[in-house]
Symmetry: C2
Subunit: 222 residues, 2 copies
DNA sequence: GTCTATACCCAGATAGAC
DNA sequence: GTCTATCTGGGTATAGAC
């Protein structure tokens, strides 16, 4: 007992390590989102998670490694969310779910969305391979589904790519351009405004491709 | 005559200065777009316009001054483009023109759009006042117009804000996320693809708010 | 007006005590 | 594992020759 280094409960050290890493990643996500990779400093990230700067280098070998981990974590969340675009559902259900989920992500993961946008805008130097593998695969399966819907006459004849880009951009805009939106709104969006915005995006897109968009034809309320 | 410093044609020096400044601004726009403010270096900008680094400081007192000038220039182009949203026209014409113009800007001013997006994503530290003055004024006049259209029954009842954000995001996406789009497309978009994307965006949005969107009801082909 | 050489500072990374 | 002190590279900005 006393000040000599004692025993730890098995696993507690590893758990603690994970916890600290998560804290650093969260802080890093916010700082990278607000300042960009070049503008962010290890000092600022360290301050944000109340750790000495040197500790960050103990857990992550370099600034770039840390950044890469942040981006990878976001990409994973993104891909999982993408599953809400169920390829088995009807167009109404699939699109409504997907748009709603993406709006929710924009609200709950604003910083993640910004880091992702930043990364892509700068030419995706870190995650370029993900774009060419995971994202491309995901996109191609959805394109095929949308094509089928068109062929069956369930929706108008649209190029699936432009439709997907439209969904991505409109939903992510609420995270990436949150500052502009909140400035024009003179404050953060209320719960009601989020619902209203989500509903509007759903309706315009669904009606735009020939569905009635009222959300009353087979979609269970979420 | 000879090597002693001679006369200049009136205005030629000033013209030259403007030319050099424009060259620096163009180079800076590209570098800032690709690297962000923090990631960009004066050296990289100097290289891009084939000038020694010190000359940049002769024409622009600091990196931040240069950046500010770049952002202001973009904002001006943006606002001018905004005039294509003519408040006097019918919804079909006004929206179609505005969307088309914004798509064109995304294609022709990719870097400018990226710098703007970057600036807003990082909380608009430089142009925050523009958001609260010029942009807010512009937005409010358009909101009023869209409200009127709704009231007259010309378009469905939508919150004008969400509609505007939708137009901004979908069109700017083609500039800001160009890298992602081109990766999925395995190359830059062709002329035909730009036309097709523009047409799709117009149709989905116009139909989405209750217009027929076929572009054949009063809009002269541009 | 133009450019080379340099001052100065700050940020990423590490050494080494605890 | 944690933290202080320090090294080092690179970036902004400027001094001063031409």
């Amino acid at each position: 007992m006393g000040h000599r280094d004692g025993f730890e409960k098995p696993g507690s050290r590893a758990e603690n390590r994970e916890e600290i890493e998560r804290a650093i990643l969260n802080a890093a996500e916010e700082v990278f989102a607000q300042k960009g990779f070049g503008g962010a400093t290890m000092q600022a990230i360290a301050d944000a998670c109340h750790l000495p700067k040197a500790n960050l280098h103990y857990y992550f070998s370099s600034k770039e490694t840390l950044y890469r981990r942040v981006v990878e974590r976001i990409f994973t969340i993104w891909l999982e969310a993408a599953d809400s675009f169920e390829t088995s559902a009807t167009p109404d259900v699939a699109l409504r779910r997907y748009i709603t989920r993406k709006m929710q992500l924009s609200r709950e993961h604003r910083y993640g969305s910004k880091v992702w946008a930043n990364e892509v805008m700068h030419g995706a130097p870190i995650i370029h391979d993900y774009l060419e593998t995971s994202l491309r695969r995901w996109t191609e399966t959805r394109i095929a589904v949308i094509r089928r819907w068109s062929a069956e006459g369930a929706i108008h004849d649209v190029d699936p790519r432009w439709l997907l880009y439209m969904i991505w951009s409109t939903t992510q805009h609420y995270a990436d351009f949150a500052h502009q939106i909140e400035t024009l709104n003179q404050g953060p969006l209320s719960d009601a405004q989020w619902v209203s915005a989500t509903e509007t995006v759903c309706q315009i897109i669904l009606r735009g491709i020939g569905l009635n968009g009222d959300g009353l034809d087979g979609v269970a309320p979420l």
